[in-house]
């Protein structure tokens, strides 16, 4: 080849350079960090003055005068008044959940602790092995790292334990900690075959937690998971089987086990006679967590669907047939969703009349979501696009508190006669989930737009069908790009659960106001203390989410560089 330039050796420099850190003396540290430049010196002095005025003067003043000038400090710091926290601790944690049933949430928490840490350990071990095999630096996880990640949570648990009046919570927490550690260790030492199915454990944990909370009213849900497990068998047996066969097997197993369990759940319930405690009776932190988690976990796929639906209009035109299928699937899915929520499936056992509805509905949900997702290019019809846009813009245009009031009173309207109206907690969950989905949709849409068009073309060029292009190429990149925004949304959703008090759910902020109006504590200026306690709970969870998201980002960025 005459014209070609000779190959030049490539300078490859993989070495990462770290800034050299040296030990500074106190004087050097002050100079370098507080008075590095003239401007920074001025600001240092300014902030110091403000700090002294705000805190030191005011506080010493208050202490010296012994007045309730700064209730925060004088009352509970000086007079040692933590009784309000002690007495109402159970109210903050579980609300009016019956005392003799508290073993249920405890058992559920144990199940979740164990299974999640099991998976965490297994996934960590897998990525470690992978890194070793690939010859890259394996990830490390020392107890110190774990402590650094978990200290806010541990501190909160510690505080709550100190406030308890009996030994039982200590035992419970001890067992939970033991399960966490044991789960992690076992997860790391599982045989490879089991490890590769580790994502399955949290589902099992979730199911057992739900069952524990509500006895057999959740059997159908459990059965769906069991069906899924059964359906995975053909996948395990032979990846060479035709896809249609695998899908049919999966769907069949799910539907069959769902139906079977639904039918059994009525008689079973008569047999056991103890359906557990429906979440309409939940309160305290449990209700904050429940609503926030549903607002994250359920809203996430919904938000993605909405985002795809809204974006659809600009891609290729659809054929009528696929459009119709897509719309029908979506509508059926939505109805099924409402039916599932609406029949008290989740608050009481299914009756013989309701179960076929719930069963069919439940079987359809997964299919409908999947179909709508894979057909969302065909959501290009104005109808689907219009639905998405209307929904998103309506929800985003109205304050959450208004939606909550609306949901509290008006939502009952949409449920057909003959079904039990969903409980107040369920209605709050529906509203918060819808609210969250709308915001997630807009965040995801931003991420979708950030994905280079070349990525889609490359994926199409290698022959990936539309659904897989979205699922394997576009969404992973889009979602990675929006992790900070997404976690920000989750955090504000978590904090927004404090609004639930306005529709008379006993979430933690409401509890603290209730506690302050108890005869024993009324008018004693303990609001600051209780609000601070509530703030701490909100902060610990928010901060943990924020830190974990940064970790995740760093990990992903490290991989791609």
């Amino acid at each position: 080849m005459t014209d070609l330039i000779n190959d030049l050796p490539l300078p490859i420099d993989d070495e990462t350079r770290r800034p050299v850190t040296k030990k500074l003396t106190a004087g050097e540290w002050v100079k370098e960090n507080l008075f590095a430049t003239k401007t920074s010196g001025v600001f240092t002095v300014l902030f110091a003055l403000i700090f002294i005025q705000l805190f030191v003067f005011n506080i010493t003043d208050a202490l010296l005068q012994g007045e309730y000038k700064l209730g925060v400090v004088t009352n509970w710091l000086v007079n040692n008044e933590y009784e309000i926290l002690r007495v109402n601790l159970r109210l903050w944690m579980v609300g009016r959940f019956p005392k003799e049933e508290v073993w249920r949430p405890v058992g559920a928490a144990w199940a979740l602790c164990f299974t999640f840490s099991l998976t965490g350990g297994a996934m960590f071990e897998s990525s470690r092995r992978q890194a070793i095999e690939a010859g890259t630096e394996p990830p490390e996880s020392t107890p110190r790292d774990m402590l650094r990640r978990a200290w806010p949570m541990l501190a909160l648990v510690g505080l709550v334990l100190i406030l308890t009046q009996t030994i039982i919570p200590w035992v419970n927490a001890g067992v939970a900690l033991g399960l966490l550690v044991a789960g992690r260790w076992i997860g790391q030492h599982l045989p490879e075959f089991v490890r590769s199915w580790a994502w399955w454990f949290p589902l099992v944990g979730l199911c057992s937690a739900i069952i524990m909370m509500q006895a057999n009213s959740f059997l159908p849900l459990l059965a769906t998971f069991v069906g899924l497990a059964v359906a995975l068998v053909p996948k395990l047996l032979g990846p060479e089987r035709p896809r249609l066969f695998r899908w049919a097997a999966m769907a069949g197993a799910m539907v069959a086990s769902f139906l079977l369990a639904s039918m059994l759940s009525g008689p079973l319930n008569d047999l056991v006679g103890d359906p557990g405690v429906g979440w309409d009776k939940w309160g305290g932190m449990m209700v904050n967590l429940l609503v926030a988690i549903s607002g994250i976990v359920i809203a996430f796929p919904l938000g993605i669907l909405l985002a795809l639906g809204r974006r659809g209009s600009r891609t290729a035109p659809a054929s009528n047939q696929t459009t119709i299928i897509g719309v029908i699937c979506a509508v059926i899915g939505a109805i099924a969703f409402v039916v599932i929520f609406g029949t008290g499936t989740m608050v009481k056992p299914l009756g013989l009349i309701e179960f076929p509805f719930a069963a069919v509905g439940g079987a359809v949900i997964g299919g409908a979501l999947g179909a709508a997702l894979s057909l969302s290019r065909q959501s290009t019809t104005p109808l689907f696009w219009g639905l998405s846009v209307t929904f998103i813009e309506f929800i985003r245009g109205v304050p959450l508190i208004t939606l909550l009031f609306f949901g509290d009173s008006m939502l009952l309207f949409f449920f057909p006669k003959g079904f039990d109206a969903p409980s107040q907690v369920t209605r709050a969950m529906i509203v918060v989930t819808a609210f969250s989905a709308a915001y997630i949709a807009e965040i995801v849409r931003g991420g979708l737009q950030a994905v280079d068009k070349g990525q889609i073309e490359a994926a199409q060029a290698v022959g990936l069908p539309f659904g897989k292009v979205q699922r394997l190429i576009v969404l992973p990149q889009a979602l990675r790009a929006v992790i900070p925004a997404m976690v920000g949304q989750f955090i504000s959703l978590w904090k927004d659960t404090s609004l639930l008090g306005f529709i008379s759910l006993t979430e933690i902020l409401k509890v603290s106001r209730a506690a302050n109006s108890q005869p024993d504590f009324q008018g004693r200026g303990l609001q600051d203390l209780t609000f601070m306690f509530v703030a701490l709970i909100f902060w610990v969870v928010s901060y943990t989410m924020s830190r974990e998201s940064q970790r995740l980002e760093k990990k992903l960025r490290g991989a791609e560089r």
């Binding site: 054929s319 490359a458 060029a461 560089r561």
Partner: protein, 267 residues
């Protein structure tokens, strides 16, 4: 129309007919009377071109002449508006099945690589065979390693695209396209985004591919490559195929004024 003049029956002053495939003589891609519009703007005008099995066709022409659009129509990244495109006996239409079939048989290499940044090199290459052709994992990975050997970067297999040089990335892109065992490879200026010292390594890989008998359509400004490897050179301007010929004919004895003008600019 000048296309008529050059490609029609009276091909006295044309060395090779656009519709007369070289290679084994068996046609793999047939484009007939194809038009392409972007809104009101006609990007391609009455294109007729046949690419034979095992033939290497190099497409050259000034910027904006429609080279990219032409090869992007072949695997339906762009939809053509009139005429027919047939790839390995399958005619491209709105039928998604046909489109998928054609895409499975054509590999494409882009100017900007377009590797999937969130996947490792190995995953980039094995993704399509596993997801589209349902090749078992082990088999797909073995094939990927073979391909990486061929483009001479097996040691990069577990890295991410962002950790590779441009030339290495483009060679991975070639391996990724080959992993689907395509019948024809389309290249859209594969070396234009590369630093000069990396161009060669990519051209080497392409040359080797051509020697192994791969059917290729290459849009490039690398005249050395065209001269060396092409069976036929297609010159495009203003959305038309102006002249088609063997490299010899093309570089020594161009017929059309526009060809001469273009060649005098770049040579």
């Amino acid at each position: 129309m000048s296309v008529e003049d050059t490609n029609g029956g009276e091909s006295a002053h044309v060395f090779a007919d656009a519709t007369q495939a070289a290679g084994t003589g068996e046609a793999l891609i047939t484009i007939e009377n194809m038009d392409k519009f972007f809104g009101d703007f006609q990007a391609l005008k009455d294109i007729n071109l046949t690419v034979g099995l095992q033939e290497v066709v190099v497409v050259i022409g000034p910027s904006g002449s429609g080279k990219s659009t032409l090869i992007r129509c072949v695997n339906r990244l762009e939809k053509h508006d009139a005429g027919t495109i047939t790839v390995d006996g399958v005619e491209l239409s709105d039928d998604i099945k046909n489109i998928q079939e054609v895409r499975r048989e054509t590999g494409m290499v882009f100017q900007s690589f377009n590797l999937f940044p969130h996947l490792t090199i190995l995953e980039n290459i094995t993704l399509a065979p596993r997801e589209v052709r349902h090749v078992p994992k082990a088999e797909a990975e073995a094939h990927a390693m073979e391909l990486l050997e061929r483009v001479k970067i097996p040691e990069q297999v577990n890295k991410y695209p962002g950790q590779l040089s441009g030339g290495q990335q483009q060679r991975v892109a070639i391996a990724r396209a080959l992993a689907m065992r395509p019948k024809v490879m389309l290249f859209d200026e594969p070396t234009s985004a590369l630093d000069p010292e990396m161009i060669n390594e990519v051209l080497e890989s392409m040359l080797e591919l051509a020697r192994e008998g791969m059917t290729m359509v290459v849009v490039t400004h690398e005249m050395g490559f065209a001269r060396e490897v092409a069976d036929r050179v297609v010159f495009m301007a203003d959305g038309e195929i102006v002249e088609v010929g063997t490299p010899e004919h093309f570089f020594t004895n161009p017929q059309e004024e526009r060809t001469k003008a273009f060649l005098s600019q770049i040579l």
